[in-house]
Amino acid sequence: MNIISIVNGKINKLDLNSELEFDEKNICINTISNSKLYLEIIGDENVKINILVKNDTTLKIFNYSKLEHCSLDFNIVQNENSKLTMNCMFNSNDSKINSLVNLNGKNSIIEYNSSCLGETKKKLRINHNYSNTNSIVKSYAVSDNENINFDIEEFVPKNSVNCNLSQASKIITIKDNKCMIKPILLIDEKDVNASHSSVISPISESDLLYIRSRGIKLEDAKKLLINGFLIGNLSLNEDEKNILLEKDIFRR
């Protein structure tokens, strides 16, 4: 797997093969052929990442970000017949995560799964600039004592026909705090399939009871449920899951 690690705004580790082109100065990642990338971003400096998924290529990104009072920007462009899968775990302390996705080619697909922990403002905008483009967005978060805002906007202009849009957002609140989900679908074309769901709720008491009824202490039961909720939202293999478990995202 290709690896890019950025710590405090600077490249810390780079291990790339010929599947990807990388411009270190502007942090631009371009696909040459189908590839997988582990992207780690840690620190308190603002980071902007540009991604181009070229015609007929796929890119699967597994991202772990630990952010402190900073912003992380993804600027993504996808060409014809491209597929991008983003599986992102954001461990954030008062940070902003902005993603702009331009589906600039027919049959381009984005699957954007993200899980957030901590004070976060997350904005995602997907422009379906061509026909037959698909987006599947799953945004999950757990709020302990922090405010979480999701602003998820998708735009389908006139003549972008047969596009499919699916959004699912869920926030679990542990304490009584303010969280907001804004699912916005701006659609100027009739031939579109679009759906969204948004849920903000406390941790399920019945799930907690079930777990605890097998002897697991309250704090461990919560941890098991939250880990499951956040990591289970991401399409990861066992090795990738273990990377997240080793990070111990709850020790913040």
Binding site: G215, L224, G228, L230
Partner: protein, 251 residues
């Protein structure tokens, strides 16, 4: 081992259990039968410590300890196990991680992964559970029968002293019922001091697991106690007729 005295329980101001009494000794099998809504499942929820149920009055002692003072997880670690009628489906948490956590919660020592894997493999075979189910999310997408078998797998793995089977027979086909009952019997054979409370509508399960006592519940309390023949009588006559006879006997 378990003494329930004059227990009164309500949920959302509706009284469910009224002056409920029950004594259970080690190694006994008790069956609680009754029509829908008489409070049978409430009993299992109260015994495990579901906070939605308010204890208005009464006592429950478990091995001479006040059970009502214990948290849910403490009750489990002290040996109480409920096989739920409708177990939770939990997104993102796989069975194996859940079971490991449950075993780990019972001991300060590191979990012996080799023994754990062997135990799980054997129990899965005994219960005819597909191996991949252990790596799936807890009960997610399981059939009714698979959920019940998963409950029994947990029971055998966690080795409880008091097992409450809450309508374990509902939704099971004949073969699955036999497998579940064989596993319960195997567990009791290995752990003869274990006591069982079987909550059920039908005596079908009792063809496999023979009870020491059969209790009939009505209006939140036990109105009649007998042996296996009482369950057969219910099968023949129905709850309504038995209840009417009880009222006549009391008059």
């Amino acid at each position: 081992m378990l003494k329930i005295k004059k227990l009164n329980v309500s949920i959302e101001d509706k009284e469910i259990l009224k002056n409920f009494n029950l004594n259970i000794n080690e190694g006994e099998v008790h069956v609680i039968m009754g029509p829908n809504g008489v409070g049978k499942s409430t009993l299992s929820k109260v015994l495990i410590g579901d906070k939605n149920y308010k204890i208005n009055d009464g006592k429950i002692s478990y091995y001479n300890e006040d059970l009502l003072k214990l948290e849910v997880d403490e009750r489990s670690r002290k040996g109480i196990f409920v096989a739920y009628q409708l177990p939770s489906e939990i997104e993102g948490v796989n069975n194996i991680d859940f079971l490991k956590s449950a075993i780990k919660a019972r001991s300060d020592k590191q979990i012996n992964l080799f023994k754990f894997a062997n135990d799980i493999e054997k129990l899965s075979k005994d219960l005819k559970l597909k191996e991949n189910m252990l790596y799936r999310n807890i009960n997610a997408g399981f059939s009714g029968g698979e959920k019940k078998k998963n409950e029994i797998l947990q029971m055998r793995l966690l080795k409880p002293k008091l097992v409450i089977l809450d309508e374990i027979d509902s939704g099971l086909d004949v073969d699955s019922l036999r497998i579940v009952c064989d596993n319960v019997l195997e567990y009791i054979k290995e752990n003869p001091k274990t006591s069982l409370i079987i909550i059920t509508h039908y005596p079908r399960i009792l063809e496999y697991i023979k009870p020491d006592y059969v209790h009939i519940m009505k209006n939140g309390c036990i109105v009649k106690t007998g042996d296996y023949s009482l369950a057969l009588e219910i099968e023949k006559e129905g709850f309504e007729k038995i209840s009417t006879n009880i009222i006549k006997e009391n008059i």
